[in-house]
Symmetry: D2
């Protein structure tokens, strides 16, 4: 049966019809204003109506950045949107006349990779989305880990370094301060500032100014052989691997799926991650080494995962 | 229906009959030689026979320290026993004529607390057993997390401090190097060595020698008001709380259940843990604070949990 | 013989006549524009002329924030001023017709405390100035440690935490990221953000907004008994003590002199520092414990120290 | 004028006649019992008598592992010998009829490198002796830094990692837990234990057993191209460089002189140290990079330095 998936971002929503195999049959978009939750709902209703014009659908899955309660009904808190304890499922069900489930966006994307993407052949998987920050989703025994209050899966805020780098969340040493696009840019700029003779390639890409260096610049320069950029990506990858080793002690997943913009660096990121994961894995000699692979679904993962979750009964 | 639980330790086995409510109806013990797996099996068979003399039982759950494969059949690796990739389930089933499941001992104990002990009213829980080392068990959505290869739940080997204290596992900075009875003793002895004027109470308990100080000495002295001992337990508790905060970012459990010998320090351990958990909890203002409570089943937890697991179908 | 001391700040200079005993006999000020080095020199010349109207002076000592070459002649680099490899001594000597020496401002202030302030009775001392950042001066065997290139004494940029907090200097984990007024404010704001129910006193002082909390607010609230503020100052003090312990392993000074605005918290800062210094001091049982005391000369220290240094021959 | 230098080790003493240029003209040895201080004194007297048979000498310098008071007269505490607050200078002067000075052995060796070895052309230098532990000596402005109580120069016990590896001194995270022969062996063995397939070369040298691997094995294997051994030495070197960066912020020496047995790895150790020193150096762009060089005097440094110090007046 087809389902609609909706991925609510800060300034737009993406919607699509997804079949049982995770194939995205049609998609559409709407621009939205994050300050106006009602406007976002209107956009959802409008997009679903458009898609239902061509497809019969069984339900709707909605993915949003924030904490979603364990019954997948309420948005408890959304980082960039005004919802607080908001019964989004009920509101949308009434307007749409369709079953709706709500899910955290990183969880939805991770679920898509688990069901139809890189993790489709495993039962235990952790998704790590290395974008501006470090998001994630945890699948244990074929089920998404949501947490008692819907606040689970926030891998980026596990502490890696006591008294480490100050994170925007108010704490310090969070994993995303070491393994994210922001970390990559900050570290690269700092390296350029303390020693500007390194990495001419990188500075040229950024128009000669360290302050203009971006994550994609680093990846591009690394692919062109720039030693500093290669080292910066390797550093990020090593922190990824180190956190994976901690997760493996706890959860022992079969696979780590790495997505997000920084993931485009591919093996320049993943090879160092694999090496450190192997070096730091507890009881290395008594267990298989988890796989570390790239995500395969790209930006569609949120829509695909949300749609599929609308068909998954809660335990 | 009643079931038998077996807890295989280094030098003895404990066995008991457990009813549906987790009540231990009868129990027995056998001394064993860890070098002789066959002798351990004989002891299991003998103990089960004794218990079946008085009770009708539906199956047998066996708990052992080590990795157990995902089908709960084979002991992949046992820290203190000679089993390697050993089909313990099949061997015992054939000799007993009863269904058998095998489980890691910390998992079995955690399961008992989840089903019948401190965690019986929650659905998401982490058990932390603070004994000589730091063991644990993770329950997510009412299911025990075992890991893709049966190597999950090893909380004590999550890294807390990069380049931290060298652990017997070959890595460094493992949580159990900061939150375990061994850590407590090591830190206390070091404090006494660098400044012997502190903590006369503690030294008196240990017959005047820092090298003879044990974990129970520290707890006893702390209860008597010894400032160094109180501080040492609080330090351990703070490390516990810090690791709990990391686990909460990932798994968002409702409750942490603290067991093991060091747990006897009670709130001298748990109060600092709660404080740090609150201080370091991600998105503190947007979520409930997890409970931190003592385990209630004591040393019987392994037997009770193993018995109960014999009645739990794998997913 | 009297000497003139000049303390060049970002937007003003302070000048004074100082006698052999470190007494400030007269002082004057000039506003200056940090963008205009020539204007600063004019102000120095003008202020010295004013002071020489009333006193006979033997020479002039000039203190400035930056690296000063080992011969105390050139400003190699100034953080907030435009001088680069600038022969300030020669320029001023020619204009003043007096002997001139140039020194780093933190060194000058530390020298004043060593000669006439808290450290006047010791021979080996480290000054720690806990202001916005963490500055310092090191006196070994009665001599100021300047470094081979004049870049010594930058205690605030010793690394305390690998992969620690990102410092404005481009590196991470610098001591001043943990022991400075900026660190105090950042940590306090973070604590308020993650748990706004703590420290009503503090929030009231700051007009109800965590973002407006300043260092003096914290000190004031701590003196009024606010638990969060007391804890924040104690935390800062513990980091101070931890760094002192490292310095003691290397330099074994008799005394640490703590100055700067945060020093006004007094024993709320120093008591935790002393405790950690004692706890972490290498070979505690085989050596005396260094003293930890407050600076006594306040804001005059730079002028007094610079004046006195004009009378000290280089080795 | 010639002087005699004595280097008191755990089980033997080395003695030699040293001329004004630091040339060792003659030397002799005596076996000694560390439990019998009197026997050590007899051996010193005997060795000096032998050397005076052939040379006229002006005085005697004695180097011993321990804290020596600021007047270079008393051994306050000796790690491996029974002296406590012992007036060694007076005792030996009376028996020898010659001027005697006493100095810490690492300081004596560092002084020799400063006067006649790798550091003979600089004025500010830090010696780092990477042997079983990490010792050192600090020369500032041409003077040896001894500390207010004679406890300075213990670089190996500066803390590098909060809550880091437990050190034999009772504290944690000491530099020597990361940059010493013991650290090298411990880390290498751990790496071999967690992944025995790495480094066949190294295991062959050690007769197939990880527990028998020694520091010289690692150096030898690294020279033969063994990747694990090369990596282990580089790791040690990086920790050296990181500590050097901290020392440079504080003391700004011109040169780091690396001695001790591990120093024999040469650039396999020093190149990574130089790289990290450069990467982590405060204000890198505003100052010269300190040199990092090997010591040149080898095992004679203690004798040569002690002899020379007998000719140096205290300030």
């Amino acid at each position: 049966m087809h389902a609609v998936g909706i991925d609510i971002g800060g300034t737009k929503i993406a919607a699509g019809v997804v079949d049982d195999d995770g194939t995205l049959l049609a998609s559409t978009r709407r621009d939205t204003n994050p300050e106006e939750p009602r406007e976002i709902e209107d956009a959802v209703v409008d997009a679903v109506a458009e898609l239902r014009g061509s497809f019969e659908v069984s339900g709707v899955g909605v993915a949003a950045a924030g904490f979603v309660d364990p019954t997948r009904s309420k948005v408890l808190f959304a980082a960039n949107l005004a919802w607080r304890d908001y019964p989004l499922k009920d509101v949308l069900q009434e307007r749409l006349g369709l079953d709706v489930v709500v899910e955290n966006d990183a969880n939805a994307a991770g679920w898509a990779e688990f069901r139809f993407g890189a993790g489709r052949d495993v039962n235990d998987m952790v998704m790590l989305t290395v974008g501006t920050g470090l998001g994630g989703a945890v699948v244990v025994g074929g089920r998404l880990v949501r947490g008692a209050a819907g606040a689970g899966g926030e891998v980026g805020h596990m502490r890696m370094v006591p008294n480490g780098r100050a994170c925007g969340c108010g704490h310090d040493g969070c994993w995303e301060m070491y393994s994210s696009g922001s970390a990559l840019v900050r570290e690269t700029r700092a390296a350029l500032a303390t020693d500007p003779e390194r990495a001419r390639t990188l500075l040229e890409l950024a128009g000669g100014k360290a302050k203009r260096v971006t994550g994609p610049h680093v990846t591009q320069a690394a692919k062109a052989g720039d030693p500093l950029s290669i080292e910066m990506l390797a550093d990020l990858g090593r922190w990824l691997g180190s956190g994976m080793a901690a997760l493996s002690a706890l959860l022992d997943p079969r696979m780590y799926v790495v997505g997000g913009g920084v993931g485009e660096a591919g093996d320049m990121l993943l090879a160092p991650a694999r090496q450190v994961l192997e070096d730091e894995l507890f009881a290395r000699a008594q267990r298989p080494l988890p796989e570390v692979v790239l995500a395969t679904l790209g930006n569609d993962a949120g829509v695909v995962g949300a749609a599929d979750l609308s068909r998954v009964l809660l335990d």
